[in-house]
Symmetry: C2
Subunit: 447 residues, 2 copies
């Protein structure tokens, strides 16, 4: 990850200067949530918290960055003490968040930041750019892996992701959502998730004969050889592959009619006694194509899903927002809300309570005021993660995050899952929260 406090919108920095110049030391609370579903989505998976915590705890304005601001003509009337202040800037606030892998829904606060307003303001852009992206990819991955049923899915999209960092984060998020791993080396190295890789067409083309390219690869990687068989002719490729060694791990089909070719390839492998050799299929796959192949019971063991997964191409952005909900000034709490018809924001700090039935299926969620308590019948989803700027518990392992995510997904009604889903999960706003909203609205109207 790039490490710069400047990975934010410039207006966060101008507002910081404005708050500082006006000596505003209010404690502000912002909440991250989204208002509605994008197309083809019926739930979301929270992802990206680890990177957010890393950023928050390592914020530092370098001398060069401060100098850049000082010389920027927008800041020409900002007094020196602001730039001095930045030199020792630290985040000293609190963060509550749903753990990574949590399933959540529109209107539910997923992350809550409470800090002096000058600090809380700064975090908006970084939090959203990391959280929106990874949550979007984790959610997409869960749809693809759901449709793949008992077959496995590997994220393959680095070359079409939105830059090298997005490629690595896509691998991470896809793992959370249910993929067994990624093709991305950095994601494997940095996040400790399984990274997979064998050969590309260029390897095969680098040799005079396809067969020679297979032999040479097997000599170098005798225990993990998956041969890419479609450079010239897939069926001929599989026939050559089985002659290399009974110990090859499998073949990869990357073009053509994947159903027909997988059936034919399976037969060639089986006839040659390579019952354990697997078939990986890739090439412009998405959840719909995976579903079709599964519906026909194509003998494919692993799907490599690239572009559509790493860019969430059918819904390529996620509208998580970061909204001011409360300000504490002179020990008094002032509730903040927005009243626009389609853009209402409920005031104050909230909690999210999840009600499960005896079969561990989700009945409904309640978004409630922080003072409410439903702990007799429900689980509360937001966890106190950062206190006074310090992280309270270590990050869970990626394996744990994935397990937690998969256990969350089993709580959902089947109608919510996979392609052509229906968003059937009910999210209620508690009566107390509605009353509070109306109270704030009344006060605003009487002004």
């Amino acid at each position: 990850m790039i490490n710069s406090v400047f990975l934010t919108d410039l207006y966060q920095l101008t507002m910081m200067a404005g708050y500082f110049q006006n000596k505003m030391d209010e404690i502000a609370t912002f909440e991250v949530f989204t208002r509605k579903y994008p197309p083809n989505r019926c739930y979301f998976i929270a992802a990206g918290l680890e990177q957010i915590l890393d950023y928050v705890q390592n914020i530092k304005f370098t001398d060069d960055e401060i100098e850049y601001l000082r010389k920027n003509k927008i800041f020409s009337h900002i007094k020196d003490d602001f730039f001095e202040y930045l030199k020792n800037f630290k985040f000293t606030g609190d963060i509550w968040a749903m753990p990574e892998g949590t399933v959540f829904f529109p209107n539910e606060p997923v992350i809550r930041v409470t800090a002096p307003i000058i600090q809380a303001q700064l975090l908006e852009t970084y939090i959203l750019s990391v959280f929106n992206f990874q949550s979007m990819i984790a959610t997409k991955a869960s749809i693809v892996t759901y449709e793949a049923q008992d077959r496995k899915v590997i994220e393959f999209g680095s070359r079409r992701a939105h830059g090298p960092e997005a490629a690595a984060l896509a691998g991470r998020a896809a793992y959370i959502g249910g993929c067994i791993g990624t093709s991305n080396a950095y994601a494997g190295y940095k996040f400790g998730i399984p990274a997979y890789g064998t050969i590309a067409h260029s390897w095969v083309l680098a040799f005079d004969k396809e067969r020679e390219s297979f032999e040479k690869y097997f000599q170098a990687f005798p225990e993990s050889t998956i041969l890419l068989v479609d450079t010239y002719d897939t069926v001929e490729g599989v026939k050559k592959a089985v002659k290399i060694s009974p110990k090859i791990r499998g073949v990869r089909l990357d073009s053509g009619d994947l159903y027909e070719l997988s059936v034919e390839s399976r037969k060639i492998l089986d006839d040659a006694g390579l019952k354990d050799a697997i078939i990986i299929a890739s090439g412009d796959l998405d959840e719909y194509k995976v579903k079709k192949l599964i519906d026909k019971d194509a003998p494919i063991d692993v799907f490599g899903v690239g572009t559509t997964l790493a860019t969430s191409s059918d819904a390529p952005f996620f509208n998580g927002i970061y909204k001011l909900v409360e300000i504490e000034k002179d020990n008094k709490l002032i509730q903040k809300a927005k009243f626009s018809e389609n853009k209402a924001t409920y005031p104050g700090k909230k909690l999210v309570w999840r009600f499960l039935d005896e079969n561990n299926k989700l009945i409904n969620d309640i978004v409630a005021d922080i003072e409410e308590d439903y702990s007799d019948n429900a689980t509360q989803l937001l966890v106190h993660t950062v206190k006074d700027g310090k992280q309270l518990t270590p990050n869970p392992s990626m394996t744990k995050i994935q397990e937690y995510c998969l256990s969350n997904l089993t709580q959902l009604d089947k109608k919510s899952l996979g392609v052509n889903c229906n968003p059937v999960t009910k999210v209620e706003i508690s009566q107390k929260l509605k009353d509070k909203f109306n109270q704030v609205l009344k006060e605003h109207q009487s002004e």
Copy 2:
């Protein structure tokens, strides 16, 4: 930018080990190109070369990265000398590339890498992830700015971009494609492009009264105050804004009917004598909405375009590919081609020649074999950029890149520009290249 050689697919590293173990020291040539247009695109703009050159010249395997590979069970049969080799790995090859800002078309090589195959192979994923993303965004930005005509466009999409790095690179690429700047602070700081920023709704909400929030902001930023006026009621907001000072720079409308509100706002500003105050409009804009506003001559001076621009949401991936076209072995050139019907790859090193008429309008391009010369009537677009691993000329400034891009765009037929475009530009494959392709095909078939 993150700086790690591991920002690549793991299979590039396994193939490297395979090439090394097999003592393959062939010189390979790979070319980057795309086969067809995504929806709503009729040309592309090359972007991202600066980051690629930075990566290529600073490749270094750290001890930790080498250790990661050594312990990875895929590499368990790879001998020690490979890991030793990685310690001093350097890119020593050549790169030819279209300068950033060049307009290009399907089937045209945009970047050509010639190097020992073990080096050239490694670069694929990084080159593609940077080039595909930035070219996609620069192209999108050129469509938005074309529709904005004489009005200006600022890229506003950091919070929905695919992670913090994508946010910064989107700002950079959008500038190349014609935006006057970005909201992203890192892009401003790192790439030296204009970064813009004033206030968000949270600033307004942080005060008891909207008017107070305006006053306080103006006190801190008396020369660059653009007031966000839609937190409560846009028209009332503008009325308050004009009372703050005749010196405010303008107002920003962020919701509602932007045409109606801009007309009304302009009148309020003018009536108050603020003829020079500008109107910025933002809020879920894209090139179609911008066009509609321009068609009605809405008095909007600057458009802030966010999500749709920073994610290229109508065409959220760009299929640039990196294909092996030639191998030099024992001083003999071996041509590499692919013959699949829709996925043909022409063999050998190529050049791209652009023919302009006397009015500087593009007649057509010819993709030619490297031996061909059309310099009497055409300009050749690929520039020798890296020789023996060293960059030949410094990176142009961002201003120069943008100027070059805009001058390229003026060469295009109007039908190619803006929304509802037609891809009218002709790209011919030279006869010599076709003959070469058929020759390679014949040799392949006779094998």
